[in-house]
């Protein structure tokens, strides 16, 4: 089996504040194969975007990586993200309205990126920019237009074009469709998936929407309060979730075939704890229906794709 494209081991991120240090990510570990689409799902504040930012070296100070390793093709990149940023790992953000510089033309911004990473002259770069626009479905004649002249969906396509221009091996997409109309979301996601598969580029798709995960991803990782609680092939996790939180997520997602007007969607009681008031032991235990005494004391290690005392050696010990 080939070595994974991206390997993240025990990544921890902290936010030192005046009175305490908030641990935003606690020993996250996962791998990503070349060309696969990995989904990162969790509630707002769970740490999904932070993981993406940490990989890119774009953590906003005072946040910083306090532990772990990130390797790309076997090469360590944590702490040296500038060398790979844009060129080997691309990133796109949630809001297409603000991702583009309003005062410069779309063509300018494309050419700038192309020339920077691919070293072409102006003419060749302009040509390539046009080709990219074609690929994302924008009329290449509009290369001299300003961002505000495009609709939201089109702007996000331009953003995708910009991210793909340097031919990266990995694209991190942070909630790329959350700000778009539902009707456009599917289009943009399909486009993203297709273009990446064509180029053999892997994707980390960060979202809170299980529907998006189901549609677009090959594998999925579930985050809760800064910790990874479950990973696995998307189809399997959806069909048979193991961690109680994942189970709750699946149950709370409406399934058109099963619900009717009278169905009450189950909700996970309580809410995700704030980073300043994290529970001891397993971070989910206050809301867990299967909570056991051991859960209150220690967090379960991440074994075999899930971090829960229900699975693994701990269960026998707890009794």
């Amino acid at each position: 089996m080939t070595a994974p494209l991206l390997e993240v081991s025990d990544l921890s991120v902290e936010f030192p504040q005046r009175r305490q240090r908030l641990q935003a990510l606690d020993r996250i570990s996962f791998t990503l194969e070349a060309g696969e689409v990995l989904g990162f799902v969790g509630e707002s504040g769970a740490g999904k975007s932070l993981t993406g930012a940490a990989i890119m070296g774009l953590l906003e100070p005072p946040g910083r990586i306090t532990g772990g390793r990130i390797t790309l093709q076997g090469q360590r990149i944590d702490g040296q993200a500038e060398s790979v940023r844009g060129r080997r790992i691309g990133m796109i953000f949630q809001d297409p309205l603000t991702s583009l510089n309003p005062l410069r033309t779309v063509g300018d911004q494309l050419v700038e990126t192309i020339q920077l990473h691919l070293g072409m002259d102006a003419g060749a770069a302009a040509q390539r920019a046009g080709e990219l626009l074609d690929e994302v479905g924008i009329d290449r004649g509009r290369i001299g237009a300003y961002p505000h002249e495009f609709s939201g969906g089109m702007r996000q396509r331009i953003v995708i074009a910009l991210a793909l221009a340097p031919e990266p091996e990995l694209i991190i997409a942070d909630e790329p469709t959350t700000a778009l109309d539902v009707s456009i979301q599917a289009q943009v996601l399909a486009l993203l998936r297709r273009l990446c598969k064509e180029r053999g580029a892997a994707v980390i798709l960060i979202t809170h929407d299980m529907g998006v995960i189901a549609e677009t991803t090959d594998r999925v990782a579930v985050l809760y309060a800064g910790r990874l609680v479950e990973t696995g092939r998307t189809a399997e996790v959806i069909a048979a979730p193991r961690h109680p939180y994942t189970k709750g997520l699946m149950a709370a997602t409406p399934n058109l075939d099963l619900v009717s007007v009278d169905t009450v969607l189950p909700q996970i009681p309580g809410s995700m704890p704030s980073l300043a008031a994290l529970p001891l032991g397993c971070r989910f235990h206050p809301r867990c229906g299967d909570v056991m005494p051991v859960c209150r004391r220690t967090a379960a290690p991440f074994i075999d794709g899930v971090a829960c005392h229900l699975y693994g050696a701990q269960t026998q010990e707890a009794g």
């Binding site: 890119m56 774009l58 500038e82 790979v84 940023r85 844009g86 060129r87 691309g90 990133m91 796109i92 953000f93 809001d95 603000t98 991702s99 583009l100 510089n101 309003p102 005062l103 410069r104 700038e112 990126t113 920077l116 990473h117 300003y146 505000h148 002249e149 953003v159 910009l162 991210a163 340097p166």
Partner: protein, 327 residues
């Protein structure tokens, strides 16, 4: 586009007429023009003659119109104090003020923008904090105090720069310039710094806050995510977006440099129109006051107008919005 232009011009003209009205009102109604020109011993007959000659019995709107007409022909009446035509007085002193204003503006802009960028980028570092605190002091201090302190430091204590006057000047046609002599240039330094300091701190703080605001925006984050080196991000993305609002405010501020020249010229006894105005206020020389007002008022309206247009040209969003909406 033409419609917007026409509207702006119409607005500007309206304000200009208002400024002229106030100027006229001062000219005509403050003090007694006849008495001031003829003195108190004049006979009733002389007075009536003068009133006729000056057209002071005509209906007010007519007098106003005549006032504006004269002004457009650069006829501002006669100074009560020196009896010379006000227009000549202004013309002889204007170059001094304009040179001073220009150099100060240059100083304020260049130093302000550079320091603004510096303090924005190296936010949190000691030097930046020092600059910011000094700027706070600079904004709190009255201009004249800065001038006096500078004189005390450089002219009295260190003795390296002159403490008043323009130094030697060279006459080029109708323009007397101090820029071509060593003593002229030396004399410009302290006044230019004094005059420009306030504007400089304003511009610096503006550039800094705008830049910090711009650097927080998503497209900067995205530019970094695309792998653009920090220098490129700053110069090609952050700077341009910062300078757009800065230009407008800076433009408006620079207009007030001419007004604040009054203070600096007094501190340094700089022979410009500002000093002329203060003397006019002190000696109640109405025609000079009114003429100065008209001039400065026109200047402000003009600057406002140009800055408006500039903004329109630089920010494509506003341009398009105006084009599409028809102004």
């Amino acid at each position: 586009m033409v419609i917007i232009l026409a509207r702006r011009i119409a607005q500007a003209v309206l304000v200009l007429l208002l400024v002229a009205l106030i100027s006229f009102a001062i000219f005509r109604f403050v003090g007694n023009p006849v008495e001031n020109i003829l003195g108190q011993e004049a006979t009733v007959q002389d007075r009536n003659e003068m009133i006729e000659r000056m057209g002071l019995n005509d209906p007010i709107p007519v007098q106003y119109a005549r006032f504006v007409w004269d002004a457009l022909h650069f006829d501002f009446g006669i100074s009560y104090r020196t009896a010379e035509p006000v227009a000549e007085l202004i013309a002889s002193r204007l170059p001094a003020t304009l040179e001073l204003a220009f150099i100060s503006a240059l100083f304020a802009l260049v130093a302000g923008i550079l320091l603004g960028i510096f303090t924005a980028i190296s936010r949190g570092r000691f030097l930046a904090g020092l600059v910011m605190t000094t700027s706070l002091v600079g904004v709190s201090l009255p201009t004249f105090l800065i001038g006096v302190l500078l004189i005390w430091l450089f002219a009295v204590e260190l003795g390296v720069l002159p403490s008043f006057g323009r130094g030697d000047t060279v006459r080029l046609g109708f323009w007397e310039t101090g820029l071509l002599t060593a003593s002229g240039l030396k004399s410009l330094i302290l006044p230019a710094i004094t005059l420009g300091l306030y504007q400089m701190t304003l511009i610096m703080r503006l550039v800094r806050s705008e830049m910090l605001e711009v650097l927080r925006q998503d497209f900067i984050k995205f530019a970094r995510a695309r792998g653009l080196p920090e220098r490129m991000v700053l110069l090609r993305h952050a700077l341009r977006n910062t300078l757009v609002p800065v230009t407008t405010v800076a433009g408006l501020q620079l207009g007030s440099i001419v007004a604040f020249a009054i203070i600096t010229e007094t501190v340094f006894q700089w022979p410009g129109v500002g000093l002329m105005f203060i003397n006019a206020v002190y000696f109640v020389d109405i025609p000079v006051m009114s003429a100065y007002l008209l001039l400065v008022g026109t200047l402000f309206v003009l600057i406002n107008f140009i800055v408006d247009l500039l903004y329109l040209a630089i920010d494509p969003r506003i341009r398009d919005r105006n084009l599409r909406g028809g102004g």
